[in-house]
Symmetry: C2
Amino acid sequence: MKYSKQRELILKTLRQLDTHPTAEELHVLVKRNLPSISLGTVYRNLGQLVDSKLVRKVEVAGSSSVRYEAKGEEHCHLICTECGSIIDATPQMFETIDVKVKAEVGFTVNNHGIILQGICKECQAKRKKPS
Amino acid sequence: MKYSKQRELILKTLRQLDTHPTAEELHVLVKRNLPSISLGTVYRNLGQLVDSKLVRKVEVAGSSSVRYEAKGEEHCHLICTECGSIIDATPQMFETIDVKVKAEVGFTVNNHGIILQGICKECQAKRKKPS
DNA sequence: ATAGCTGCAAAATGTTTGCGCGAAA
DNA sequence: TTTCGCGCAAACATTTTGCAGCTAT
């Protein structure tokens, strides 16, 4: 990946935020420092930054657009049904879920994003003894 | 809400499914019994059915379109990162989360959809002693 | 009779993409 | 100097909406 002023600024701006902006909100913020930057460039760079794990998508149910964050480790979010505020969850909150999920349906949880992702029983069997 | 053949059929079709179809997928299924029904009508009726709690939205991260379900109680979903299959979670898996979330950030969880929804500390304070 | 629902098509929204130019390697 | 990223605008996908006519009450 080739360096670009735009990508550096997008990442720097997102890293300074404690909020979870949409691409459009971030575009407005970034334009303060680089007025010529286009929304398409913000989308393209966010995509690359997500691919390289420097940025995470925060997919909020009920919000039509995707939100992004660059701070800290992967974590779940608590969304207030009154004011819409987004609070970061801690890993401790989920400690026992993985164990229960595994015990009940044999599903191994890898990831506590907005949804629980992992590998289902069938796919695990396929992995251990491949065709 | 006034009766309509279209809405009845949409709900009946969705209730027969163990999958979590998008509006477009459901439109295809419903058209088998009522070829003239339009996609707009499917969207409009799904909206009403969600409002009246007969149908729930299943917002799957990574899928661009919203999915719907009509069976059982509200529940979370486990999404396999290998094959994309959607498995229904049980309430027991989440028993301790509510307690931990409450203890750590004073947030009361109401709902274990795809994301955790509830009321944040500030809104609870506002509720108890209104302006 | 009339409120509310329909099908249709256009609009709205959020995101992606093709293009020709300019910047990084 | 070649490759890749840019800005721009058009395309795209999903969902919503305005309208004129039909249906349930």
